[in-house]
Symmetry: C2
Subunit: 109 residues, 2 copies
DNA sequence: TCCATTTATCGTAATATCACAATAAAACAA
DNA sequence: TTGTTTTATTGTGATATTACGATAAATGGA
């Protein structure tokens, strides 16, 4: 079906999956890293930085924007993207709660 | 194309994407949480715990096993799955390095 | 106004993912 | 051996993802 049965999972589980899915493509990982590196907000030279076509980058940016992890400010003919640090913190919280499951666990099998 | 251009990204970027992709489905998140919760290793009552058909669970388990995050021990007719804590730590390291990009960053835009 | 620049959107081809019914395979019990 | 239980595999339909050429839309400058 290509369609996950989100109804049967908890909000927390769906949230982890939701964010993780966004990081499930190296281009989006690279875009986020680049936006963090270039402290000042940067626009479409992301296309030059990453080796993908402009429509492809635009598509990835749209997904990240939809998640709320980045914001885009229109500046003349170009758009300046940057990380939404508040949202990043929220996401990080959710992901870390998941990743830290191992603390408090003993060995197995 | 439905095919990511992994060649143009760094190993670290691809690794984050690789793990994140696995967490990109709530069923796999739920399976891992369940395996952590049931400290003793657990077999196919994962199917009962999660509300998905047996072949579907088997498929998700296969992916997690392929990643190395879980191990399966055959015990008679059933298979006992458990978290591979060592691999989990490796994965966590990779993910946290990515998630902690924000430390050391100022505000933007 | 007309053109150049930049980004977004559309359309589409190739591939991947998700879910499950049907069935096979493996192991044990009677 | 025959049946039972448990898990894996196969096959398939529905949908999602990735990538990009072509084009539209927006803005500023000549």
């Amino acid at each position: 079906m290509g369609l996950a049965k989100t109804e049967i999972f908890t909000d927390a589980q769906n949230e982890v999956a939701y964010y993780a899915k966004a990081f499930g493509h190296p281009a989006r990982v690279a875009i986020l890293q680049y936006l963090f590196k270039i402290n000042a907000c940067v626009c479409g030279d992301i296309v030059n930085e990453i080796g993908l076509a402009q429509p492809t980058i635009s598509q990835h940016l749209k997904e990240l924007k939809h998640l709320g992890l980045i914001k885009g400010n229109v500046e003349g003919t170009s758009v300046c993207y940057c990380i939404d640090l508040e949202k990043w913190a929220t996401m990080k919280n959710s992901m870390e709660r998941f990743l830290n499951m191992d603390l408090a666990r003993k060995d197995c099998c």
